[in-house]
């Protein structure tokens, strides 16, 4: 238990410290550590957490840290009360680096943000963050989220359809993410996905 809490803290501290590029890039990091490295939850559970994080108030980074902290403890067999402890720890850890950095270097940053060295670092970071997002999307396209042709052809085909619907709905028709999530959720209930 202590080990799990420490790992949780350390993981989210690192994610807070190196989480460049916004909420979605952070999701990719959380996915990498929490699902890929520590196996605290399955890819399907992580996807559900992303769905809830996107459709509830607050920054996605905070929402997902809170939810992942809870789920990691509960999945490991501890009570919901310990789950709350886990979510507090994860949230605290992901914010802590921001806090330290801001206190130490906010003045420095205001002055040097156009310095060539900072520009150089970001010329490498920005394209890499695009790759992070791409990897996150590819990793999410798995059997747990879409099922498969052999396992459940009905669910697989409908999943592909809902994926295209969500993609086109947002890209072409500019539907909001919450509306898309709700529509697809209710489609899932009606069609017995």
């Amino acid at each position: 238990m202590i080990l799990l809490l420490l790992q949780l803290f350390w993981t989210f501290f690192l994610i807070g410290l190196f989480g460049f590029g916004g909420g979605y890039a952070m999701l990719s990091m959380i996915q990498g550590e929490v699902v890929g490295h520590y196996h605290w939850m399955t890819m399907g559970q992580f996807t559900d957490i992303v769905a809830v994080s996107q459709s509830t108030p607050g920054p996605i980074g905070i929402n997902s840290a809170t939810y992942v902290g809870y789920t990691a403890l509960v999945n490991a067999g501890y009570s919901p009360a310990w789950g709350i402890m886990g979510s507090f720890l994860a949230t605290f850890a992901v914010v802590l680096p921001s806090f330290i950095l801001m206190l130490l270097i906010s003045k420095f940053l205001l002055k040097y943000r156009n310095h060539p060295s900072v520009e150089n670092v970001f010329s490498g970071l920005r394209p890499a963050v695009v790759g992070l997002l791409l990897a996150a999307a590819l990793l999410l396209m798995n059997r747990e989220n879409f099922s498969s042709l052999s396992e459940n052809p009905w669910r697989f085909c409908l999943s592909i359809f809902l994926f295209l619907f969500a993609f086109i709905g947002q890209k072409v028709y500019r539907l909001g993410p919450i509306l898309i999530i709700l529509l697809c959720g209710f489609a899932g209930i009606i069609l017995g996905l």
């Binding site: 996915q31 809170t66 809870y70 490498g124 890499a128 899932g188």
Partner: protein, 180 residues
């Protein structure tokens, strides 16, 4: 001090769908109503908060709290921004725990999952545009994605390596190429 907590609690509560959706609300509350920072200062702060690691909205609130009331102000503002998320998510997590086995909840989430993948896939294109991806640097996101997707490399490591490579390339290699 209570004003800081209340304002950032409201900002956290009424923004759904990520940090950048918060900017108009932050602008109205912090610049127009409270006059804690000027329009120009806010723009500078946004630029810095974007280039800092961590959660954009939290970075911004820490900045403004720090400027307004020092370290305690920064702490209070950060708590204000995080608290709505924390409470909402915990409420959902605790309720969801009870209904996880429910067949309708299961169908609902089965329907949602492909949509979430699409919602994650879309920003790839948007960010590719804003990161100015072209045929000369497109190998960077492709290699990064391949390392993470196929070889299971940690995204944290990829970000670190990309930052260091960008620095080294810009400082030591770029000029040589231009000169030669």
């Amino acid at each position: 001090m209570f004003e800081l907590l209340k304002t950032f609690f409201q900002i956290g509560l009424f923004t759904i769908g990520g940090g950048y959706a918060m900017i108009p609300l932050i602008e109205r509350k912090v610049v127009d109503e409270k006059r804690w920072v000027s329009e120009q200062e806010l723009l500078d702060l946004i630029a810095v908060a974007q280039s800092c690691p961590g959660i954009f909205a939290v970075n911004l609130s820490i900045f403004i709290g720090l400027k307004q009331r020092g370290k305690t102000g920064a702490l209070v503002s950060a708590i204000g921004t995080c608290l709505p998320s924390f409470l909402c998510i915990l409420a959902i997590a605790l309720v969801f725990q009870q209904f996880r086995e429910n067949v309708y909840v299961e169908h609902f989430f089965h329907g949602i999952r492909p949509a979430v993948v699409a919602l994650i896939a879309l920003p790839v294109f948007r960010m590719a545009k804003s990161a100015k991806i072209n045929r000369y640097n497109i190998w960077i996101p492709l290699v990064a994605a391949f390392l993470i997707w196929m070889l299971g490399v940690s995204p944290i490591f990829v970000v670190l390596a990309a930052g260091v490579s960008g620095y080294v390339y810009g400082k030591y290699l770029k000029d040589d190429f231009v000169n030669s």
